[in-house]
Structure formats: C-alpha cells, structure tokens
Chain length 306, copies 4
C-alpha cells in the first residue's frame, strides 16, 4: 500500500504589475495582479528536494515584469503569452495556469475634460481571466468579480416547500442584492485562432458587452428567485456571445430585512431596511452550450462549485 505524490503545482502569486503607455500625451494606465502556477513533473523536488525541475517562483515574477515591457494588451492575451512561455520553456513542464485580475482606473475630470495623466480608481469591481495551457491546448476563462447590484422592487420569493424548520414568510416584494462573480469560458478556437491584434480586439469588445448584458438582465423583469435571475443572466450572455461556451455564476443573496418599526408606532411600507452581513444565501449555477465540449482542465484551481 504505497504512499505517493498526487497532483501538484507551484508558482508566484499576486505579482502586482503596473504599466504606463506614454506613447501619446494621453497616458494609458494598466494595473494588474498576476498569479502564475506551473504544472509538470515535480516528483524529484517533492520526494528528494532536487530543484532541477523547479523554475524559481522569483524567475516567474521576473518574467511577468519583463513581458510587461512589451505592453499588456488584453489580459487574456497577456496571460496566454506568459502561460505558453512557461509551458514551452522546459520539457518537464506540461502546462501552466496564469490568473490575472485587472483594476480599472478612469482619468480624473479637470474642467470637465479627462486629464492626460491623472487617474482615479474606479470601484471594487475587478476584471479577471484564468488562462490554462495544457500541452498543446489552451483555455481562457474570463470574468469579473465584485459587481454589486441591487433592485429595490420586482423581486419576490414564494411557493417554496415548508418543512418543520421553515419560518420564512412568502413575499412578492423585497430588495434583491448580490455581488456577482462571473466566469465564462471562451470556446476553443473562438478567439485564439486570430492574430494577437484581432484576439485583443475580440476580448476588448467582449468584456464590456458581457458585463452590460449581466447588469441589464439583472435589472429588468420580475425575479421569482435569485436562481431564476442567475440563469437568465447566464443565458443572455450565451445567447449574445457565440464565443462563450459556458458561464458560471456565484451570487450571494445579500439580505436586506425590512425593519419592524411597529413597536415605535410607525409603519414601514418598504422604506427602511437593515443590511445583514452573515449568514447569506449563496446561489451558484452554470449555463452551458449543449454542444460545447467540456473542458475541466480550464477550471482546475479556480474557486467554484462544480
């Protein structure tokens, strides 16, 4: 009954790289958090402490900064360049995973016009990508996290089963609030057969479009359950974006409870709520294209529910 090494990976996490494109007076600022992980044959170091196969995580960090010298482009493409470089660098490396978060900045308005080189951070929302190279295959799972949305009406929750432990009242009007984490996988070949420039254009166009689709779908219509809203959001993305093979959504139900003001002689017709921290509902689901090949490797190492 042997004991042996199972799956492993290692890399440098949270490399904070910021670039400035000064090629025109209007500077372009990019702000990334890059995490690399290499996969391959690491048994010698695990079993014997032999580092012959261990490209140092410090080297991985250096590589991120060096590659940034040529410009970032879209984060998907930057991740692909890095992951491909690592996977191709030594024959004992079979793959790499590069995860990137991008933080948005907006030019500061001065006298009503955007300033050339002064910026402010825009929100907690983060654009993400996870690029996986696995041998000759590559996968791109892009997304966003921290998109906090709320609707003040057009949401209810009723018709649920009632067991011994059920005390919740039904409602046809409540506040619905969540913080969306979405990750969508681009179908293989949907984007990466084009030139770098074309890929970048595609990713650059897709992101704001998918983001808008998610927000608009959340906003419109009546929500009978957060599950219904989640599915509608994912479905709308797949309908509008043929390049997307599947999408996974994780949406906490950030509860807002109507305050009971009756003890103070006051009514409360949907005016005053308390926002709760914990516990919270957590709704997670995926929407998939039936004919799209699955790609489990694309999701390996990414927190989620599947």
């Amino acid at each position: 009954m042997g004991i042996t090494l199972g799956p492993s990976q290692y890399g440098k996490a949270e490399v904070r790289v910021v670039t400035v494109d000064r090629s025109t007076a209007r500077h372009v600022l990019r702000d990334l958090n890059v995490s690399c992980a290499l996969r391959g044959d690491f048994s010698a170091v695990h079993l014997d402490g032999d580092n012959g196969h261990v490209l140092a995580t410090d080297t991985q960090k250096n590589t991120v900064y060096a590659f940034a010298r040529d410009g970032i482009g879209e984060i998907e493409d930057f991740g692909l360049r890095l992951a491909r470089h690592f996977a191709d660098s030594y024959d004992w490396l079979t793959g790499a995973r590069v995860e990137i978060e991008e933080y948005p900045w907006t030019p500061i308005a001065v006298d009503g016009a955007p300033h050339d080189h002064a910026f402010s951070r825009t929100g907690e929302e983060t654009r993400t990508t996870v690029v996986t190279v696995d041998g000759d295959n590559s996968h791109v799972v892009s997304g966003l996290t921290g998109l906090v949305v709320l609707k003040t009406t057009e949401s209810g929750f009723a018709g649920f089963p009632r067991d011994r432990y059920t005390t919740l009242a039904e409602t046809d009007d409540r506040i619905l609030a969540t913080a969306v984490t979405a990750r969508w996988r681009y179908a293989a070949g949907s984007v990466d057969s084009a030139s770098t420039k074309e890929r970048d254009a595609d990713y650059a166009v897709a992101f704001p479009s998918i983001r808008a689709t998610l927000m608009e779908t959340f906003a419109v219509g009546y929500s009978s359950a957060l599950q219904q809203t989640l599915y509608a959001m994912g479905h709308a993305v797949l309908e509008a974006h043929p390049a997307v093979a599947e999408i996974r959504l994780s949406m906490p139900n950030k509860h807002h409870f109507l305050s009971d003001l009756a003890p103070f002689g006051l009514d409360n017709p949907g005016v005053v709520y308390s926002a709760a921290d914990r516990p919270y509902g957590l709704i997670e689901g995926s929407v998939v294209r039936e004919d799209a090949p699955v790609a489990d490797i694309a999701w390996r190492g990414t927190p989620g529910f599947c």
Copy 2:
C-alpha cells in the same frame, strides 16, 4: 492616590441602514453605516454596575431605524437629528457623537437609460460625516475616504537631506499614488442656522464640489512632494468653500517602483512598475483658516494625527 474613572463613551456601532424612497417611479436608494456614541455621567454603571443612566445600545440602534422612516436627507443633517435627540433625551447625557458612512450607488444603464429601480455599487469610495453635539454646541466634520488617485508623471522627490541611513536616489519623474482620507470641519453657524431643507441643499452641494476640488488639485501641476500636493489640495478647498473652517488630510504614499529590467537586457523608460503594499509613506497634514476658532471636541474619537 485615588484611582478614578476618566473619559468614557459608549454606543452602537455600524448600524447598517438602507432606505428606499418610492415616492416616484424612479426610486432613490440610500445606504448608510451609522455609529452612535453617547457622552455624559456614566460613573454609576462603571463603578457599581447601575444601568440607570445607560440608554441601551439596542435602543440606539432602534432609534436609527425609526428616524430613517422620515427619510435620511443629507447625512450631516441625519447625524445632527440623531445626535441632538440623544443629547436631549436625558439630563445626564451631555453630548453625542454620530458617525456616518454613505456608500454610493448608481442606476444601472439599460438600453442607454438609467433604470428606475436597479442599481450598482459605485466604488470603494465612501462619503463620511462625524457629527458631535456637546451641550448646546454642535459640530460637523464631513469627509471622504478611499479616494484612490494616481498620476503617471509630473511628480518628483529631490533635495531631501542625506544622512547615514539615506540610500534613496533623487528623481524628477515618478508615479505618485495615494488613497485620500479627507475630513473637513464646517464652521459653526456656516450651515446649521438654516432650515433643514437649506442645510441639506448646502451639504448636498458642498460634497461633490469639495471632492472635485480635491481631485482636480491632485491632478494638475508638478508635485515636488506628497506634502506639497496635500497642502495644495487642502488650501484649494478652503479657498473655494468659505463654510469650511479646517481640513485634515491623511494620504499614504502608495509606492510604485520602476522595475529593473536591465538583467534581462531590457530598458524601462517609465513603462513597468511594481506596486508595493507595505511599508508605505504616510503623509498627514491640516490646513486651517487662521481666524477660525478651534474645536477640539469636533475631532474627539476620530482617528487622525492631531
């Protein structure tokens, strides 16, 4: 040599109250975090466990929700209503401090138009106020926190003294980045002599104007030191806003270090930087109107440097 009770206060912290004004189809959403503290004669409870003077913190929480039933108005005015209510409620209470954070939300755009009742959270930036009632006097210190700004050029640091421990090179071009916490005190009588409606209008106008002044002043001109920028920002606010008696600014210097790419055979003409977490410079300063009476009580309990 007696041992005795010194200053004390107590209250309910972080009451998360959300209100919806549904009086028109376009809902108005407000999202606050309210912390109350009462001041007065609490010696009986401290020394003997006699709660006769202890208005329960649970009651304070209830009061926040009950008062929200009538609408919030500007947070400064909501704070004043609460603080005045507490300070006037029992003769053993000599004052109250109410601190409010407000989180901004923006209507979601659907087909290019702002949706009536669906919103997204806008950024990490928070509008703040600290209202202090002390006997017959009241003080309002408003502000913002989490305003993250960066300029990619027009910043340097040179001419500083060099002692045994100095290794830093001078520079005339660097990235300057900070997360502004600003708190400004309105002069007594500058706002609170008007009607509620007028006060609200004044506070409502002042906030975005001061915020814009801070951002614009950060953006323009050459910065020889973060201290110079800090003072310029505060000075501009006082110049433009006669109602502001003083302003205090706390601005971490969020270092961005130019990456050394020479080992990889690459130059780096201001393109690639690493963003550091810790340590960071921390620059704190105040700008005051010379003829304005000081008001230490207005700042009691507020984290700061003075």
Copy 3:
C-alpha cells in the same frame, strides 16, 4: 445549438452558531461557522422561477440552529447529520455539502487554574471540515487553515534552473515561513461505520494528532525546497493515519528577505529580515494512498488546485 442549465447548488453560507454545554460547572464552549449547499434538480426555479424544489436558505439556517440543540459533537459528525438530513428530506435532492469552520477557545487561567466559564480565543488557526453526501455515499474532508509556521534555519534553495529571467541567488540558509492550509480525506468506511460516539472519538483523536504531525514534520530536518517539506508533511500524515486516504496542502512561501545593511556599514549575519506581503510563492501538492479510490465529488466546491 441549445443553451441549458449546467451544475448548480445553493444554500446558506456562514451560519455562526455558538453552543454552551452547561451540564457541569465547567462549561464547554463551541464556536462554529457553518455553510450548507444543496444539490439536486433545481431546473424549475432556474428556468421558470418555480420555487417548489427550493428549500429556503432561511430554513437551512434554522435547521443548523435546531440541530445544534442536541449538541455539536465533532464537527465531522455534525456536518454528516446535517448533510444527511438535507439529502434525505426531499426526493429531488440528490446531495448536500456542509462546510464547517471551528474556532478554538481556551479557558482563562485565574490564579493558575482554568476558569469554569471564561474563555479566550486561541489564535487564527481554524479547524475545518467539508462533508459531502451524494446519494448513498458520504465523504469527509477535514483540515485546518491559518497554521502559520516558520523556521529560522535548516532551509535552503539551490540547484534550480537558470534561464534568461533568473536572478535569484542560491542559498543554503534562509528563513522558511508559511501558512498551512491542509485538507485530508478520510477513506470511506474508515470512520463512518462506527456509532456516533465512536466516530466522534475517532475524529476527536485524529485532529490534534494530524496537526501535531504536520507541525513536527515542518520543524525537523533540512528543507531543500518548500515542495520537499510539503510532501514530507503529507507523507507523515498518511503513514501515521491509516484512515486518511489523501491529503492536499496549500502553502504560501511567505518570503523573509535578509536586509542589506552594507550601505550603513553594518554586516547582517542572519539577524535582520524584512517580511514581504506580495508577491509570494504558492506551493500546492497532494499526497495520496495508491490503492485508495479517488473521490472527486468529495472536493467539489472546495477551493484548491486539483
């Protein structure tokens, strides 16, 4: 080309339940954070907003509190009771996942003796379990997180490949520090065939023993790489605990850099270090028993690298 619902789950996350056993003068305090997720046929709610299959997350929360009335026992057993209850409650439910964090408390010492009913929180370290019921099968993955350890010597890093981007010097003496997250899966049948009391005893004995094994193995011997240490730790656990089928370890390399004091005319023979936040190495690996059946479902929804 249809678009359809993929995997989904939902539940109540972060139910904070605290229990006191007052059956003797020496109270027993338990402090848990419980997250539930149900799995099954939820297509009606996702596609049509029909909540007939949606046991409310509020009900799940109530169930946690109600079940706690009978005592917690070991968290593994409490999780199994909850997960089995949910999975068995309705025929459309095929499984459940219950994740529990337990926070340790220690009696306060008064006059050298442990107090009966006053406690202090002991550390950031958290005991964890993830229980998965899937039809008739159940799986238990227990672990710990936040175990921060450091060795001041007997650690090096050398013999790694040097490519164009490698600048790191080799070293045979460095500080090695990490924050261990470990999750080990109990083999099916290894524990859960016994009575509740026996199961509890087994889990109760296993946890501190495994924890001690992890710490001792980290402490002893020379580490040529964090990978070697990780594997040794996992291997030692499997050797000592036949009930454990596999273990997964995630260990950030919390870098401590020797300060360069030469510019100040000082040497630094391993005395002064700066502790860095980001980036950090992240080493992840698993150690498995070769003859143990894999159980992917046991890990579904748990952050990790496999």
Copy 4:
C-alpha cells in the same frame, strides 16, 4: 482671513522587521510592524515643495532595519531609541512618534520539547506600544489588541431606562464577549530613568502581568454591564501597577443572541446562540490615577475616543 498650515506629521508606516538572535542554539525570533512619524517644521515642503527638511520615509525605513541589527530588546525601548534618534537628528525636528506591533511566536513542540528554531504564530493578539518623543520629554503608551474573551454566564443587563424606542428585554444571564484593545500610559520617570537593561526588564515583566490582570478581572465576578467590567479591568491594572498612570480600554460588545427554537418545538436553556457581526455595542472608557499629570501628546495620533 489667511489660510495656513496646521498640524502635520509624516513618516514610514508598517515596516515589517523580523529578527533572529542566533547567539545560542535556541533561536529567539521577533516579529514587528513599525510605523514612524516625524514632527517639526515642515512648512517649506507643504507650501513650496522644498524637501530640505524632509528626511525621506525611505531613510526612516532603513533606520529601522539598521537599528534592529543591535537587537530589539523590548518594543518600548526599541521605539524610544528610534524616536529619540529621529527627534535629535535635525534641529527642525521637534519630536517623533513610533508605533510598534509585535506578533507572538511559540516554539513548535517536537516529541514534547520546544524546538530550537521552528516556531508557530500564536494567535491574533498583538502587543503594542506607541512611543512619543516631544522635545526633551518622552512618553510610552503600551497595550494589546485582539484579545478576544467570552464568558458563558455571570453576566446580565437590566435596570436600564426605557424610552419610546426601547424594546430590549432585561436579562440576568447572557453571554458576554468582547475583543479587548487596551492602551496604558507609563508614568513619566516610572520606567525610563533606569538603564536599558533595567527598562527592558521592567517592560518585559509588566506586559504579561497586565495582560493576566485584564483577563482574570474579565473572568471573575458578575458583570452587570460591560462598562462595569471595563472599569474593573482598568482599575485592577492601576492598583497592581504603580508605573501605570492611566489606561484606556475599547471593548466592542460582540453580541451572542439566544436562538429562538420554539418554532421547531425545542426549548433553548442557554444552549444555542447566534454570533452577530454588526451592529455591535462599543464601550470605551479610561481609568486614571488622580494625581498623575495628563499627557495629551502621548495619545496624539492614536485611534481612540478621548
């Protein structure tokens, strides 16, 4: 009506310095977070961007590491050495504030004995000091933060006033839990007249003794209010420690609510509680020695309520 510079300070915050004393086989590990702030005449930089008076924050960081080369000693003494060095370094500097957090580590037990050079982090609790040098005077405010304590009985809350907004029921048995932040000021001359070695001995003895006093006083006796407990804790410290001139305590009331299990047909005789995050009570108070001179400057820049 002039606008002018008010109080200011600046420095390097959160310098993470770790030292190892290897003078015996049993290594001694110290882990600090040091923040410096300088005070003096900084008008030239604020008004004109002239850095002639600005000892760079980078230099301050270097100084911390260089001073650590000689060993840390007690954090109070390390802070005094640094603050005195800064305040004395240039005639335009009138003072300095050095704040230090120390994180505790414990040798790992191997075969029942403490290991020589392997350690684990002990808890979230942090020992703190704030040292202020102001001209020829120096002040030491030491403390701790993150000491989380709970008693399962011997706590009540009754006899409080009931106004229109009061709904809270009285109780004579509840869980009382808090996270203690304590800061005590050593009387001038009480410690710092001795030699470094003697001072260190005094600080080294005082800290665990005061910590034990705080915990024991929390544990014993019946608490009619958290205010009563707070005062008793502070009073006990001043009684036992003549060197302490005053103590300030900030203690959130971390509410634990008895779960209502009646809807499920269950009683709940003090068994099951839910732990709440927000809002929380926040009780703050100070205990002072009547004849001790006040020293406001010792507290400047330290978050608190006074």
